[in-house]
Structures are given as C-alpha cells and as structure tokens.
Amino acid sequence: MSNSLKRKYFGTTAAFVGALLAATAAGAQEPIKIGVVTPLSGSYAPIGKQVRWGAELAVKEINAAGGVKGRKFELLFEDEEANPPVAVRRAEKLLQQDKVHLLTGTVNSGSTLAVGQVAQRNDRLLITTVSYSPAITGTQCNPNVFRVNANAFMQSNALVNWLVKNVSGKRYFFIGPDYEMGRSTIAAFRADVKRLGGNDVGAVFPPLGAKDFSPYFGQLRAARPDVIMTATAGNDTVRLITQMRDYGLLSDELTMAGASGAVTQENIGAMNGAADGFAAAAGYSVDLDTPANKKFVAAFRAAYHADPDLFAADTYGLFYLLKQAIEKAGGTETAKLREAMRGMKWETPQGTKQIRAGDHQAIMDMYIVRIDGDTFRTAGKVEGEIAIGPDKCEQF
C-alpha cells in the first residue's frame, strides 16, 4: 500500500513537474493529458511495467520531435491493481481531478469494460492495449472504447488458420485446465477448428494445477491426434509437455500448439527442449524483421535494458495513432477524435494497423511464433483481414 502510494505520488509529482517544464518550454500550448490506469503492483505488475515503458518511450520520441502540432503528451499513471472496482476509482480520479483527455492502460478485461463505462459517462475515450476478452469489441462494445491489440478470438482464429494450412493431418485434440478461462479458450479453438475444416477428435479438462497428466493420456492415445491444442499455462504446461515426452507421446508427426500464454519466457527453460516446435499466435514478436521493429527494439533496449513484449509494442504504437488522429481531428474533443480514428490506418513496429469502424477493434497482422530450442521464432503471418473475423458489435 505505502509502496504503491509512494510510487503513485512520485509518478504524479514527476508528471506534474514534467508538465510544468513542458509548459514553459512549449509556451502556452496546453499538453495532451493521457491517463494510464494500469497494474503497477500485484501479480500483473510485469504487464503494467511493459505498458508504462511502451508509453514513455513513444511519448519521449513524439515530444522530442515537436509533439502534436506543438502540443506535448503528458502521462499520468494510476495503479489499477488488476481489480475492476479499483480501476474505476482511479479512472474517476484521473478524469475529474486531473482532467485527462483520454484513458488507456487497463489490463484486466473486467477493468476495461468497467472503465469504458466511466469514460462514456465522462465523455472521454478509453483505448486498451492489453485486454483479450472478445466481448470488449464484441457483445459488450462501447462507442467510447477502442482496442489496438489482438483479442483472444484473433489469436485463436489466426493460429487455427495457420495450422490447417501448414499441418497435413486433420485430427485435432484439445487439453484445457478445468476452469472458466481454460474451458472458454478450448471452446474458441474447437469452434475455429470446426469452421476451418479440421476434425475435432476429443478434449480433456484436467483440474487446474494437475500434477499427474498420465491418466489423461489414454484418451489422448486413443484419439490419435495430428495436432494438440492446449490452454494450459505456467507450470501446468511444463508438467504436461515433459510428461508427454516421458510417455513417448511427442513425435515429429504431432504438432503442439496453444494459447499465447501456454509457453512463455518464464517456463520455457524448465522444459529442457521438450516444447520444441510449439506454435502460438501473437500480435507481436520481438524478432520481427522489419526496419520499424528493429528501430523500436533498439530504442527500447537502450532505454530499459530489457526486451519489449507485445504489451509494450501495442502501447507504443497507440501513441502514433493518437498523434495522427489528434492532428486530423484538430484537437482532443471526444466526438471528433472518435470520428477521426474510425477506419484510420497507422504505422507501428508490428506493421500497419487499421481501426475497424464497426467495432473499434484494430485490424492487424498476426504472427505465428514457434519454439526453437529455448527461443521463439516467427514462423509465419496471418493477414489481419483473415484473423479479425466478423464484426459482432451491435451497440453502434
């Protein structure tokens, strides 16, 4: 508590001092205040850190190059603690006390939905760069909410699109931890496999944190799958994949694939190469071989001595969208800004993105990353138009 408070006040003070300095430098030009409600403490803090770094790097670059028609960006951070009620309180504070022009940073999908309503009541926009839930730009879409990162549907759809084109076998088997997230991820995979012509040969749902997966291998062997898609994460993935190896279930004929959180930098080392060839889809991969990405990665590493991940890349890209949209709208007035962003195309380290006017979801290319030993390598790309799927938003 005291730590996060200290950090918060420090952040606010620093931002305030920065604003004063910026104001003196740029003359009487009013800064563009961006409220960043993101987890700065708790288990999602590493995500919040990447969001913060991505935002700060973009703002530093844009302000150094003269800002947006002379106006500078100013960032105000608040800790959402990945907790919707807290996020709502902090967002209210940013909107009413600090008078920010726009909100971003929410991570937890529940926070994004709740803060979106707060933004709507205050006639401001919220743009998420992290939340996955398809509902945010689907069944629960909101005219004041935009998303510039890939949602869960796009990840699953892109992955299955790539698998049906690149794996000759058509038999798909699914493994998901037995709770809401695991079940819904597997349901999405199965729907995509069915729609795209794969053959669903069964699924198992071991409890979250299962120690021994061997009782499940009987059903797995009987299904004779060509592809196994998993929604496990962390140590569950480690146990699943190492036990599959120990029972002789991994082979060159079997393709392992899964949600982007299944194999990560944190658990890849524990598998001793057993995860080799594992495929996942993500909106960003640090090894993307484009000049824009190389420039971004070099600047990021120089500033923070760490690699950017998808959260940093999506947040970084957002500020270039804002710059372009504010220039086009001629200011930060919400209605004009919304109109300007609808259908807008802009350049990011991930390639060209475009906001779909119908649901405010960014259309973006999806990358297939495969594991090669202990590193992730980009193995393919699925065009944004294919990955994004139908517009399910009916509210506007």
Partner: protein
C-alpha cells in the same frame, strides 16, 4: 482386427501399466492401514498425514544434501520413528479401554489435523516439487514409460514382498498373526504383546512414509496430499476386507485398474467416483469385504 490390436497395444496396455504402478503405491499405504487395524483394532486416520510426512521428510533431507537415494532409505525410518512416538504417547495409553476403537479414531483424527497444520506452518501452503532421480524413458514393444515410474513399481513390489515374507515366513510374523487371532493367549506364553503392537504400528507407518517418498516426484509435496490419498486407501481397505493383507493388495490393484481403464472413456476425475461406486457395491454384496481379516484366515 489390426485396428483393435493396435488399440489394445498402444492405448489399453500403457493405461493398464500406469494403473498397475498407481495400484502398487496405493497397496503400500493400504497395507499399513489394514495391518494396524487387523492387529490393534485401531483405525489410523493419521495414516495419510504420515504419508505426507514422508513427502516433506524427503524434501528436507534432499535439501540438506542426502540425495534422493539417501532419502529413500532414511524417510521410512524417520516416519516409522514418528509413528512410534504416536503409538507410545497416544495409542498405547488408550489400548486397555473397552471403547478404544472409537477413542483412537478420534485421537488419530486430531493428530492428522495437527500434522497437516504443522506442515502448513513449517513449509507453507505452496506445492514443492521433488526432482525424480531417474529422468530417462524406457521402451518395450512400442510402449514408453518414464524410468522413474518403473523404479516406483520395483520398489513398491519389493516392499510388498518383504512384508509378505516377514508375516508368513518368519517367527516374528507368526507371533504377529497369533496376536491378531488371540492376544490373551500370546501374552500368556510370555510374549510382550505391547511390543508386537508397537512394531506393527511403526512398520505400517514406515510403509506410508515409503509411499510418500516414492510418489513425491510424481504428485509433488503439499499439505493436503495425504488427505486425498487416504480416501482412496480406505476404499481399498474396505473392498479388500478390513485387516486382510492379501485383500488390500488385490483391492488396490483392482481399484487402480478400474480408475485407469475407466479413464479411457470418462474424465479421470469422474473415474475416481466410480471407484467409490465399486466400494459401495462390495459393501452391499459382501459387507466384510472380499477377504478375511488377518489371523482369521
């Protein structure tokens, strides 16, 4: 036909072998439980926590540098020692009471809660994993098995064989069986029945400790690990016949197979329920279990 054979070979056989390994470890826990009941008429509800102690003792010993093999030898001795403490301080003073079945049940239940909480205080609620000492894979005829599971099978079968030899081929075993049949007569022959009881209790606990070390690399170590396993062990003891050694081993193998084979078609979590359905059926048809008690056969 070829398809059916392939199904048998690559699907059923690995599942049966996996069930066999689980069955043998289940038999280790159930053997101790049923021996103690057969001889002392004590239902040891702390048995699962002694299994848990086996896991934590292995964790501590390996942490202090004993290595896995050192832990495999030392842990049953340590858990046996803990069992001796429980017998000496808790069970023995209650043995002369006519209602000892019920008071020892309450005592061991209390002890099980204390041990579980103690483990939580000392080691916390998190799950610890123990590295398996053997990491390779063994293949025979297209069926793959982790080498460590074969070790578990070997040690488990060995421990069951030693128990059988001790009970049916040694003088000590003869005394044990005689005590189960008629403790008053054995005492009148000048044999210290007290020590026979203590030995049986300690030996049963050591078996639980051994199962704890053997299974900790597979199931990991956490405070409620014993509780989950004990429920299965009780089903085994009830199906096999309370107090029957042969029954416990056979029922352990049988119930593990029911679980394993059923898992081919239904989720393994439901298959666990099926095990208890089998237990209920046995209780309805043969309330005394499949086999007779120790000392009655």
């Amino acid at each position: 036909m070829a398809d059916a054979l392939a199904y048998l070979h690559f699907v059923v056989v690995p599942q049966v072998i996996d069930g066999l390994i689980i069955g043998v470890t289940l038999a280790l826990v159930a053997l101790g439980l049923t021996m103690i009941f057969g001889l002392l008429h004590v239902i040891n509800l702390a048995h699962g926590e002694l299994y848990m102690l086996g896991g934590y003792a292995a964790l501590a010993l390996i942490g202090w540098g004993s290595g896995y093999w050192g832990a495999l030898v030392l842990v049953p001795l340590l858990v046996g020692l803990a069992g001796w403490g429980l017998e000496e301080l808790g069970i023995r003073p209650l043995m002369p009471r006519p209602d000892r079945a019920i008071v020892t049940l309450l005592l061991t239940f209390g002890v099980s809660l204390m041990l579980r909480d103690a483990a939580q205080i000392v080691w916390g609620t998190q799950t610890y994993s123990i590295e398996a000492p053997l990491t390779g894979v063994v293949e025979f005829g297209g069926v793959f098995l982790p080498t460590y599971r074969l070790l578990v099978l070997g040690v488990g079968v060995g421990a069951i064989a030693v128990t059988w030899w001790l009970l049916y081929r040694t003088r000590l075993g003869a005394v044990l069986r005689a005590t189960a049949a008629d403790p008053a007569m054995v005492a009148s022959l000048g044999i210290p029945v007290r020590w026979v009881y203590a030995f049986t209790f300690v030996f049963g606990c050591a078996l639980a400790g051994l199962a704890g070390v053997l299974l900790s690399p597979i199931y990991a170590v956490f405070p409620t690990m014993g509780h989950d396993f004990l429920i299965m062990a009780f089903a085994v003891v009830i199906v096999g016949g309370m107090g029957s050694l042969f029954g416990a081993v056979l029922a352990a193998l049988l119930l593990a197979q029911v679980h394993s084979i059923a898992s081919l078609w239904i989720p393994p979590v439901w298959a666990q329920t099926l095990v208890f359905v089998v237990m209920l059926l046995v209780l309805i048809v043969r309330p005394a279990g499949l086999f007779a008690r120790l000392g009655k056969a």
